[in-house]
């Protein structure tokens, strides 16, 4: 049987070079950091608030809730898992109860393993309760209803929202507010960031989300990648400025600058 031609998207040369350049800068940051170069990370209030929020739950003797939203296994949830690992270790250390409701089954298995290992690493494997890592539903509002119910029934002191969220973001954050929880949220879903900003105490915006594991662990590889990531953003900024200048020149001197060469090179 003859297979039909599969049409998939492909990068052009400009995009491939840009990818290699930004990747190269990130890897260079990792290399420098691993060789012992001290790299600076600015303070990110939302990430600093994670430890304080866990401390509050300890003082109040009430549970912590961590939700991934409707995230599935991808880069977003990988970062959230790294943050969950940090939170689970602190919860184990201070004897907090950590509740993790999930909407994605493969992610549920990973989250359970991450929490189990975090409790074991703190020398308290017996304190881990598998019943607290709960798959609720993969249906958006059924999941939201489940999490809201948990927040009110268990009277959570702290709620963490790290993952991918849709319309349920405000339902969860407002319910957490009503339940009196201190809330820290971080998501790359730009449409939901405003909702978290108004309804939670600390919001992690944009690429700060992907700085989470580096900021919390201060592990040289991650710190180096974070600094490389900032240099990568600098490259993007330079390209935006250059593209804007070329677009203006194309408008005011069409005879000389016949087109926006940069946009064409990058496939625009």
């Amino acid at each position: 049987m003859r297979s039909a031609t599969v049409k998939t998207e492909h990068a052009n040369l400009g995009q491939a070079i840009l990818f290699l350049a930004v990747s190269g800068v990130i890897l260079a940051g990792i290399f420098l950091s691993r060789r012992g170069r001290q790299l600076f990370i600015r303070r990110i209030p939302g990430l600093s608030a994670i430890d304080e929020s866990i401390g509050r739950a300890t003082e109040m003797g009430r549970p912590i809730l961590f939700t991934f939203g409707l995230a599935w296994i991808d880069i977003v949830s990988m970062q959230a898992l790294a943050i969950l690992s940090h939170i689970a270790r602190l919860a184990a250390r201070f004897g907090n109860r950590l509740i993790v409701p999930l909407a994605d089954v493969p992610l549920y298995t990973l989250a359970e393993e991450v929490c189990r290992e975090a409790y074991a690493a703190e020398g308290k494997p017996e304190a881990f309760n598998p019943d607290d890592i709960i798959f609720l539903s993969d249906q958006q509002f059924a999941y939201a209803a489940g999490v809201i119910g948990l927040m009110h029934r268990e009277k959570v002191a702290t709620a963490f929202y790290f993952g991918y969220f849709y319309a349920e973001s405000l339902l969860l954050a407002e319910s957490g507010q009503i339940a009196g929880a201190v809330q820290v949220a971080g998501t790359p879903a730009t449409t939901q960031i405003p909702f978290f900003m108004v309804a939670t105490d600390y919001t992690i915006i944009g690429d700060e989300y992907f700085a989470g594991s580096a900021y919390l662990s201060r592990e040289p590889t991650l710190v180096g990648s974070l600094v490389g990531q900032d240099v990568g953003k600098g490259i993007m900024l330079l390209l935006i400025v250059a593209g804007t200048v070329l677009a203006v020149l194309n408008k005011i001197m069409p005879g000389i600058f016949t087109q926006n060469y940069l946009a064409k090179w990058l496939g625009g």
Binding site: T8, I75, S85, Q140, A144, L171, F195, A199, K233
Partner: protein, 282 residues
């Protein structure tokens, strides 16, 4: 190899796949953690390499056999394989739900009756959902001594009469939450909050007829500078120029951050989630 199969060939493929799965899981189960780590590292690297090469190599080039990107035809089978593996995980979710709610009932924990409701809902939806799919016509149902129409009606009540309205109810609560969140956000305590309040007020006015009515006397022609003071135009300017610029800036940051994270996962440089803990115990 990845085309549809029929008859005996189909059963051979199903049997071979099941045997391969059992063999792979048995090997994975017995491998020491150190080798499992290497297996994960190699699989992550090969998976990332496949998708990167497929995307960054051109669709057509004279160096490729047949002139076309040799990896592109494998994209769909790879995606299907991932979907199948994810499908297996669904059983894990059901097992977790069953265990959690089963223990609630067995130990008569507070609210145990909610867990009974869960089992009733789960079993009902499975039974009537499968019935709906596999006994679609009344004649076949009658052959089994059952009334198909009545069973379909039960499914209708469960799904369209209960599940959907419950979801819609929760969604509608969002309107009230937006109002309460907006009330807190718009309390003017700082210059930034005042800016946001004024901007939001203009954008909201621009969305409703009364806002457009307020500035209806201003010119509509684009050549007249006063045209920009019409509420709908001011709202559009705030939304599509200022707000959009901010959103795009955030999106750029997210894209670069995601690239850095993807590189770390691809090259297994991301620590702290899983293996670091296991290794630290050794």
């Amino acid at each position: 190899m990845f085309g549809p199969k029929h008859g005996a060939e189909l059963w051979v493929y199903i049997g071979a796949t099941a045997a391969a799965f059992v063999a792979v899981f048995a090997v994975l189960h017995w491998l020491p953690v150190r080798f499992k780590r290497w297996l994960v590292v190699v699989c992550a690297f090969l998976g990332g390499l496949f998708y990167s090469l497929e995307y960054y190599l051109p669709a057509k080039h004279r160096w490729f056999p047949g002139g076309e990107n040799p990896l592109s035809p494998l994209v769909i089978p790879m995606g299907n394989a991932v979907a199948v593996v994810s499908g297996f995980a669904l059983a894990l979710g059901l097992i977790n739900l069953g265990l959690v709610h089963g223990r609630n009932i067995a130990r008569a924990r507070p609210g145990w009756y909610n867990s009974v409701a869960f089992f009733v809902a789960l079993i009902s939806m499975i039974v009537f959902g499968l019935w709906q799919s596999y006994v679609p016509d009344a004649a076949r149902a009658a052959g089994l001594g059952l009334s198909g129409r009545q069973v379909h009606r039960v499914y209708d009540v469960l799904f369209n009469g209960l599940f959907q309205p419950l979801g819609a109810t929760l969604f509608s609560v969002l309107a009230f939450y937006i109002a309460s969140a907006a009330f807190r956000a718009f309390r003017i305590r700082t210059a930034e909050a005042a800016f946001m309040m004024v901007s939001a007020f203009i954008v909201m006015l621009g969305q409703v007829p009364v806002g457009q009515w307020l500035t209806q006397g201003l010119p509509t022609s684009v050549g007249n500078p006063l045209h920009y003071l019409r509420v709908e135009n001011a709202a559009n300017w705030l939304y599509s120029t200022w707000s959009m610029a901010g959103v795009r800036a955030v999106d750029f940051g997210i894209a670069v951050g995601a690239l850095a994270m993807a590189l770390r996962v691809w090259l297994s440089l991301e620590r702290g989630s899983f293996f670091e803990v296991r290794e630290s115990k050794k």
